[in-house]
Structure formats: structure tokens, C-alpha cells
Symmetry: C2
Subunit: 190 residues, 2 copies
């Protein structure tokens, strides 16, 4: 039985350099609040406001470092509340994804695309992937067992990279449906 | 393969007669907006506001007819947003459940207990239950298959009554996690 650590991703924003400048001021640098599980990634002290076609959400955490493209990750619940037509997508797959306005202390930007609901995925390093006989892009299932809201997630996409550390990432809707908070443990079903 | 119709329950409130009177005025009667799937149950035109320890949610649908005890059903996402300590419970099991304030057009009430997150459950009539060899209170699993967020719900409690009609009830967090909107179809796994 292969146990998998589960991490719950709250809504967050990755910013491109040019968008960081627009929202926080020219040549602004993000300040690290804490490291995240995936090496190099960190929660920044900075937050932004997301404005949708209806309503807004304040204090949305920026995740660093800066990326090539700005990407906003929200839950389906958020998407409904904000009236944003956000698809379930893998990180980086932003073509024709949702639109929103991001508001920072120094300015705002209108994102034509970039808002997604993260596709549930398993981060794994090559050595472990080989051990468990997993291929990049493969789908697996992961079961979460507890006394009240046990759940098996199917359609979990395997993402292999030497930069990754073993973690199953789900969003807050998925965590709430499974009765877990920020962290949990699952069982890999291939 | 036994197919099960799935229904998504949005947040809603069942009211006791005395609480209906306090919120809407003495001897008030609920007005039917539309019938719900379970015989006798209906969505009322009336809505109330739920106030938690933090924030509030407006326009929460009242479900009729009146009940012995007032019961508020919200999602875990709502419970977090409202800072209400709501447990996952079966309908009617309200002892030491969450507290809130309900606000109507004519008054408000402070509920010491009554706020729950509905335990996922399968409504079924006795004849069908017999056919599928299901007992009241038994746990089953129900799988939802789609291309992007397939899920198997475990801990589904079976509730048998001649007043019920076959339906698997989940809340909005569970629906969002499974990639379905108001309705769907599942497969019974015993």
C-alpha cells in the first residue's frame, strides 16, 4: 500500500513579472512568507484582490517566484461566486481559460485568460515514479479514508519532475468533500 | 449496473412553526416555489439570512413544510466562511450541532444548535431497497464518471422510507469536487 501525502491548495495567484510591476510598482520583488512543499515555490506576503463578473475576493495569496504567465487558481465555488467561466485545467494550460481583474496596491490588470480550477494532480520525482511504475501524464486514483467523508479521487494526473516532491494536490472544494483540512494522507490505487 | 440519480442540495433552511412565526410574522404560511424530488418537500419562495461568527449569507432558501426542529444545512465552504462549527450529520441529528442567527423580514432568532453539513445519503423506497438488497443505515459507495473529475463517494448512508424517491443527495462542495452541477448520475457500488 503506497501512502501519498495530500496538500490542499487554497485559491492563489502566480504573477508574470510585468503584471507584478503593474500591481505592486516597478521592479517590485515578492517577499517570502513561507516555503511551499514543491522546491523553490513559496507563499508570498503579498496578496491581491480578484474581481469577477460579480463580486470580488480579497486577500488572495500570491505564490512566487514569478512565472512566464499570470495564472489565477480558484475553486469551482469561487468561480460560481465570482461568475467566472473557469475551466478545470493543468497548471500552465491557460488558452481560453477564465478572465478576471486583479487589483493590487499600485494598480490593476485585466486578465483576458489565466483563471483556472486546478486539475487534481500528483507531484512525484522520477526515482519514486519509477519505483511505483508511474508514467508522466498517466491517470491514477487516490483514496482518502476517514469515518465520515471517505472519497476516491479518480482522474488524478501524474506529473513527474526532478523539481517535484511527492504530494497529491487538491483544491478546497475537493478537500471539503473529503472531510480534510490543509493536509491529509491518501492511498494510491493504480 | 445500478444507476442512481444524483441531486445537489444547495444551502437551505427547514423551519419549526414557532421560528417561522418569529422570522415572518405570526401564523405565517410558506408559499411553494417548486416541488422537490422527495414527495411532500418543496422549495419555498421565502428566504432568510444566515449570520455566523463572521459574515453572513443572504437569500438562503427555506424548504417546506415546517418541521419539528429548525435545521440549517450548509456546505463546509459556507461553514468556514461563516466561522460556524458545523458537524457533518444526518438530517434531524442536531444535538450539539452548529449555532447561528437567522434573520427574516419580521424578526430574528438565535439558534443554539441546528446548523449541520448534510451527511451524503441515498434516499430509496422499500421496494427498490429490497431489489438492490440494501438495508436502512447501511453504507454504500457511489461512483460518478466523467472526463475530468470522476469521483467515488464512500460513506453514503442508505435511508429507506415509503416517503422517499430514489436519489443520492450531495452538497455543493461534493458536487464541485465531482464536476457536476445540479444533477448527475452515479453508479451504485455495494
Amino acid at each position: 500500500m503506497v501512502k501519498i501525502p495530500i496538500e490542499v491548495s487554497a485559491r492563489h495567484v502566480h504573477l508574470a513579472k510585468k503584471d507584478l510591476d503593474k500591481l505592486f510598482g516597478k521592479n517590485y520583488h515578492l517577499t517570502k512568507l513561507r516555503d511551499l512543499s514543491q522546491p523553490g515555490e513559496f507563499a508570498a506576503k503579498e496578496t491581491v484582490k480578484i474581481k469577477g463578473n460579480k463580486g470580488e475576493i480579497k486577500n488572495v495569496r500570491v505564490v512566487g517566484p514569478v512565472r512566464q504567465k499570470t495564472q489565477v487558481e480558484i475553486s469551482k465555488t469561487d468561480a460560481i461566486n465570482l461568475k467566472i467561466n473557469a475551466p478545470v485545467r493543468l497548471s500552465g494550460d491557460l488558452k481560453k481559460s477564465g478572465s478576471c481583474t486583479l487589483i493590487g496596491p499600485k494598480g490593476k490588470i485585466k486578465l483576458k485568460e489565466g483563471v483556472i480550477i486546478a486539475h487534481r494532480h500528483l507531484h512525484i520525482e522520477p526515482k519514486l515514479a519509477k519505483k511505483y511504475n508511474l508514467k508522466n501524464g498517466q491517470f491514477v486514483s487516490i483514496k482518502i479514508k476517514n469515518t465520515i467523508r471517505s472519497l476516491t479521487f479518480h482522474n488524478v494526473i501524474v506529473r513527474i519532475s526532478p523539481k517535484f516532491r511527492l504530494a497529491f494536490h487538491i483544491d478546497t472544494d475537493e478537500a471539503n468533500a473529503a472531510g480534510i483540512k490543509k493536509h491529509g494522507t491518501g492511498i494510491l490505487l493504480i
